[in-house]
């Protein structure tokens, strides 16, 4: 492969052996071993609490650990003095948007501060600053205080400050979490460019599974363990199987049957995805058709499994998945007949919210019907949470109106409030109370009659699979279970409308799937209207309808499929190509007029109207320039492609105004 030239046989830059880190009784990392070679981008992928941050901090020499050894540039990190010796060659960016920066200082002052800290000479500083600022397109904002930058810009400034002393090893802890897709794309391009220019090595962690293909090699981490490591292809190769995608009208019935047989079944919007392990695509397809005899299959399609499927299969294989609960699809939990799902549950009409200096939400309108899962997709700071707060009546809108079940929540009567459930961002239940105490509290607050309380609690406990942890303190629960408890609390009174603010942020893939299973059940069987926010592109596929939010505005609003179709009609199909050397290829393509060509890991994505014509043109153009084209294929656009396109379109429109 083209990459081998970059990876040499020199001793590894970082060598970790049997790394153990404990926080009191909790084991954050339990025997982690890995080697990072010079010049590669090494990925740590896993949910919150997997041990990624502990490992990165230990490598950066800012966290002591209990067992194992870490070598950085051949120096064993066993004391503060030892860590000091290599710190000059390291750049470390901690987790959190711009947490290492100073909010009151301007962009330039921040950079100068870090340069002085690292004793960069003025001449070198001026040179590097010019280059990095141009690359990150921050040069227009030199005098702007950091606190007034958008999330994506903060993260880019953080990167500049980390790179200002030209470190040989850069350690970036979740640099792209909650960042908008365009900034995310910029971020990866900058990183790749820098790595090619100098012999820099990067260790990058992420909670997004779909970022995996951007890494040369990676470790999949879960609960302090490395579940798998190596190149993405190698990991996929180790977990043979087929992903079968089905379109079925009788989704609920099909799900019930499939779940009896397979562990990895997922309802994604109108589709069902099943991972069938160990068999060829033909055999997998046949197995499923046999299982679903009698149910009409509208469409069946086989695909290569994604890294997320492999990860989940590995977790099951290592028995890290926890106990599987009863399928909620077979339970009914609200009293009486579910209402028909045709009424409009939530309406946002021209909602505006102004903070001191800027407009957080700008004329946002949408409708959510009963029985529909509606997603607000956007980066941190896009205004998603503010929209939910205005709809639920926590924050008064500056302009416009929002109604829930026909009532303005700020003046809604108790009977209206009793019909909605709300789960706020972060974990906001009472951590010093047990699961049962939390549920009882919310049941009583929402006016569940005394006789029915125990019965209701039992039902949501069963629905959310909380049985084994009933008497535990909420604060002691792992992330995934906490989210389900929060959901259970929002559900205990049987609401008809559900607001969920980033319900799955930081939750592991298995936890996320369980969570979605419950949501799908609520919407399909109980006809609950669900409005949720997320910054996971892949998760947004689950929603029936989506509103893409960027900088306070809704820039597109439709079903995921329609969003993709619209993209294909407007801008064409996505061409996915691999070329060597990849950066020259990117440059050449931009010169050829493919302005939206973007680096995606080691591959390039671009949008073309006519696939055949463009393929031919690219082949000719690249071969003229001695760039080797390894492969080129058209690909169905992802929601990320849609989002990036819409953001850029919006920016172009605003620029011309």
């Amino acid at each position: 492969m083209g990459q081998t030239s970059l990876v040499n046989d020199d001793p590894p830059v970082v060598r970790v052996r049997e790394f153990v880190k404990r926080y009191r009784k909790l084991k954050a990392a339990d025997g982690v071993s890995l080697d990072i070679r010079c010049g590669e981008i090494y990925g740590l992928i896993g949910p919150d609490g997997a041990g990624k941050s502990s490992l990165m901090k230990a490598i950066a020499g800012v966290l002591s650990f209990e067992g194992g050894s870490i070598e950085v540039f051949g120096q064993t990190i066993d004391s503060e003095a030892a860590a000091e010796k290599v710190k000059g060659r390291l750049g470390f960016m901690p987790q959190g948007l711009g947490l290492n920066l100073y909010p009151e200082l301007s962009v330039e002052e921040n950079i100068d501060f870090f340069a002085e800290l690292r004793e960069v000479t003025p001449v070198l500083l001026a040179e590097r600053k010019r280059k990095l600022l141009a690359m990150t397109r921050l040069d227009r904002f030199l005098d702007r205080p950091m606190k007034l930058l958008s999330g994506g810009m903060k993260q880019k400034l953080g990167l500049v400050c980390t790179l200002i002393h030209e470190p040989d090893l850069i350690i970036l802890d979740e640099p792209t979490t909650g960042v908008d897709p365009v900034s995310r794309r910029d971020f990866w391009t900058i990183l790749t460019q820098l790595l090619r220019e100098r012999d820099v090595t990067a260790l990058v962690s992420t909670a997004y599974m779909d970022e995996a293909e951007r890494f040369q090699r990676l470790s999949l981490m879960f609960g302090g363990l490395v579940v798998a490591k190596g190149a993405p292809e190698v990991i996929l190769h180790d977990v043979p199987g087929t992903l079968v995608e089905l379109t079925i009208a009788a989704q609920v019935d099909a799900l019930v049957r499939l779940e009896k047989r397979f562990t990895q079944v997922e309802a994604v919007g109108s589709k069902i995805k099943v991972f069938v392990p160990d068999v060829t695509p033909q055999a997998a397809s046949a197995q499923i058709q046999e299982l679903l005899t009698g149910i009409k299959i509208e469409q069946i399609q086989v695909e290569k499994p994604r890294l997320e499927d492999a990860f989940i299969a590995l977790l099951h294989r290592h028995h890290l998945s926890g106990k599987e609960e009863d399928s909620p699809a077979e339970m009914v939990w609200r009293d009486g007949v579910p209402p028909r799902g045709d009424g409009i549950a939530i309406v946002a009409r021209e909602l505006i919210c102004d903070f001191d200096h800027f407009r957080a939400v700008d004329r946002v309108s949408f409708e959510v019907r009963q029985g529909e899962i509606f997603g607000l997709l956007g980066a941190n700071g896009a205004g998603k949470t503010t929209v939910i707060k205005m709809l639920t009546g926590i924050r008064p809108p500056t302009g416009g109106a929002g109604t829930v079940a026909g009532a303005d929540m700020r003046r809604a009567s108790q009977s209206v409030k009793e019909r909605i459930g709300y789960m706020s961002q972060a974990f906001s239940l009472y951590q010093d109370m047990t699961v049962q105490e939390n549920l009882r509290l919310f049941a009583r607050i929402y006016g569940v009659p005394g006789r029915q309380i125990s019965e209701r609690i039992d039902r949501v406990i069963q629905l959310a699979g909380l049985g084994p942890v009933c008497t535990q303190l909420a604060g002691k629960l792992p992330m995934g279970i906490r989210q389900r408890l929060a959901l259970a609390c929002a559900l205990v009174h049987g609401p008809l409308v559900l607001f969920l603010d980033e319900p799955t942020s930081g939750v592991d893939p298995i936890g996320r799937r369980r969570f979605w299973k419950i949501l799908v059940h609520l919407a399909r069987v109980e006809h609950v209207a669900i409005l949720l926010t997320t910054h996971y592109m892949s998760e947004a596929e689950h929603c029936d309808r989506l509103a893409l939010m960027h900088a306070g505005k809704v820039i597109a609003d439709d079903t995921p499929a329609a969003l993709k179709t619209a993209l294909e009609q407007e801008a064409g199909q996505v061409l996915d190509l691999a070329a060597e050397p990849v950066l020259s290829a990117l440059e050449a393509l931009e010169q050829a007029g493919f302005t939206d060509a973007a680096l995606f890991g080691r591959r390039i994505h671009l949008l073309v109207k006519d696939v055949d014509e463009a393929t031919a043109r690219i082949r000719a153009w690249l071969s003229e320039r001695d760039i080797r084209l390894l492969d080129i294929t058209p690909r169905a656009p992802s929601l990320e492609d849609v989002f990036v396109y819409r953001i850029l379109q919006q920016e172009r429109q605003e620029a011309t105004l």
């Binding site: 926590i394 409030k417 009793e418 909605i420 709300y422 239940l429 109370m433 009583r444 607050i445 006016g447």
Partner: protein, 389 residues
């Protein structure tokens, strides 16, 4: 008519049931907070106990002597500086040494007896002794100098009587004004009664502000307040549940302190009606809760709330008479005391526990507290509600 009544009753019932659910939640959370539990026990039990052991009297103040006479007469005077008020700290050879001990804070009083002290007394001429007092602590200095003056005066009087040949019994025929006084309510003038009561009332004030403030700020800090606001709860129910729960905690703490420490250890008589005392404490606790809730609306986290609470507490205690009696205040501040709720509480607290006073005497103080408390609580509630509008 009947059905209207029924609807009203169910509405009231569900309103009350929600309030009780929230109050129960506050109490559960309080019970799980070991640090807070420790603070309650520490302040209500150990702190009031310690306060009972502190005295405002001179306690073994060091007296250093420069005795240039070394006679029986000088020794007699020196040995009149006795415990518990004084303690002899030895002798110095010259005035400078005495001065230095005062400077270093190793002596409070330096007594300078001139040469020929005994000789002059015997001769019948008047004699001066010099007393130097360290008055850097004004109260101690004042006590030391007045006690010293009393001791030396008594000594001079005794010496004068002896030299005139008048004995004790003959004194009755000498024309003299004698004072006979009665000390009411605390006949032995025990600090162990006065101090712990005063401390208990201060502790109630601190906790009465801090507990509701902390409970309200914690909801904000953790983001749980939003979860509650979306629910059918009204802001009144949210804050009332905190005030009720924290008042229960404070009453329990007060009972603990009153029965185990004040009555149990220091034998404070508790003459008045305990029901009245707890009723007054409840009204007072609602007043301080109003302040606490107001503080909670101003602060974003617990640290800010604690800092603000100190800003409120200091003048409140200073203007209450807990540390300095009203009689020692300048007139301006004495008027200002009427705005410190603790002033009324302290007045009533002493009156009920030591004097056995009832409503017939205390009605005006109670009215003052109730009015002030109602005002403050109403203000706190108004601010607390307004922050969500």
């Amino acid at each position: 008519m009947n059905s209207d009544w029924y609807i009203l009753r169910t509405r009231l019932g569900s309103w009350f049931s929600r309030l009780m659910a929230m109050t129960a939640k506050e109490l559960i959370q309080f019970g799980r907070d070991t640090l807070l539990l420790f603070a309650i026990v520490y302040l209500f039990v150990f702190d009031t106990y310690m306060a009972g052991n502190i005295t405002m009297q001179l306690n073994k103040a060091v007296v250093v002597v420069h005795d240039a006479d070394h006679s029986a007469a000088s020794r007699e005077l020196i040995y009149r500086f006795r415990q518990p008020y004084f303690k002899l700290g030895g002798e110095v050879l010259d005035n400078h040494a005495g001065q230095r001990l005062l400077d270093q804070g190793r002596a409070l009083v330096v007594l300078d007896i001139p040469p020929d002290f005994a000789h002059d007394i015997k001769k019948g001429t008047s004699v001066d002794v010099q007393v130097q007092v360290d008055a850097s602590n004004a109260v101690l200095g004042f006590l030391a100098s007045s006690y010293t003056a009393q001791i030396i005066g008594q000594y001079g009087f005794d010496q004068a009587l002896t030299s005139l040949g008048i004995d004790e019994r003959a004194l009755e025929n000498v024309p003299m004004v004698r004072n006979e006084y009665r000390v009411w309510y605390n006949p032995n003038q025990k600090d162990t009664w006065f101090m712990p009561i005063s401390e208990l009332l201060v502790v109630i004030t601190i906790m009465g502000i801090m507990l509701p403030a902390a409970a309200a700020v914690r909801e904000k800090e953790r983001g749980t307040i939003e979860q509650l606001l979306v629910s059918p709860l009204t802001p009144i129910q949210i804050l009332l549940s905190k005030v009720i729960a924290m008042t229960v905690v404070i009453l329990l703490g007060t009972a603990m302190s009153l029965f185990f420490v004040l009555h149990g250890v220091f034998a404070v008589p508790m003459k008045g009606s305990l029901i009245l005392f707890f009723a007054v404490t409840t009204i007072y606790s609602f007043t301080t809760a109003g302040l606490g809730l107001y503080i909670a609306t101003l602060s974003r986290n617990l640290a800010q709330a604690a800092l603000l609470a100190i800003l409120v507490l200091m003048p409140m205690i200073f203007l209450s008479g807990a540390w300095t009696p009203p009689e020692a205040m300048p007139m301006g501040l004495r008027q200002a005391m009427y705005i410190s709720p603790l002033f009324y509480f302290i007045e009533m607290g002493y009156a009920i526990l030591l004097k056995g006073a009832g409503l017939d005497i205390l009605w005006d103080s109670l009215l003052g507290l109730a009015l002030l408390g109602g005002l403050i609580f109403g203000f706190g509630v108004w601010r607390f509600r307004r922050q969500f509008k």
